[in-house]
Symmetry: C2
Subunit: 109 residues, 2 copies
DNA sequence: TCTATATATATGAATATACATATATTACGA
DNA sequence: TCGTAATATATGTATATTCATATATATAGA
């Protein structure tokens, strides 16, 4: 359980905010959602297809997510496989679903 | 309940990502955490003290949060009171607590 | 070793963001 | 109506982000 009765200290906020900030990008969220959905590690090519963007751009986004420690990669001969390693980011996706649900169907909240 | 077995569509991601992105700023997260913690609406002066930044900067941040529809304001004579109106952003704070907990105490996940 | 496929990086221009300082507005009480 | 406390905005500069294009690297197979 997480302590919830006191404010998050500024050090933590300054450390974690950039991680969330970097994840909160349409294409990067798409990648995270895809990797979560697929459960198993996926290649850059597969991710590129799912993301609907160019290979170079997807590779750039993967790098950003990896630098933040949200995903990891391992090479498998020709391919490089990516998967999510920080499950806390999945709450971001849940946050979006809930936010969206709230906006579109207010009676659900 | 939220449907979780298909990918969030890009339109939604493009709409919601900026909201999260704007919230994911140390000072703005502090403000959201404070307002959530206090439960009742708080004045700019109170928020400024809690945030530990200048009045002008806090006012700028409040404006940004308000523009995103995350908080609302109402005037009470001299003061302007702010409160959270979009509860989905509270998941961000939970996300941070969990992320932080994961980093500091890995055995908790 | 040469080639093809898969992936990664460099670079630059356009745009956005952060933050400080100065100034403006608002509303009430004297 | 004048002053003052509370809040908001304007502006500029430094810095960061985005996204595209071109190019580089890595691996396996012929």
């Amino acid at each position: 359980m997480v302590i919830d009765d006191e404010l998050i200290d500024m050090d933590t906020l300054e450390r974690v905010a950039p991680v969330i900030r970097n994840a909160a990008h349409p294409l990067r969220l798409r990648i995270l959602d895809y990797l979560h959905h697929e459960k198993e590690p996926r290649t850059v090519t597969e991710i590129t297809e799912a993301a609907g963007a160019s290979q170079a751009i997807v590779s750039q986004q993967l790098r950003i997510l990896k630098d933040q420690g949200l995903i990891s990669s391992k090479r498998d001969s020709h391919n490089v496989l990516y998967c999510i390693v920080d499950p806390s980011v999945l709450l971001l996706l849940e946050c979006i679903r809930r936010h969206d649900g709230m906006c579109v169907k207010p009676h659900n909240m």
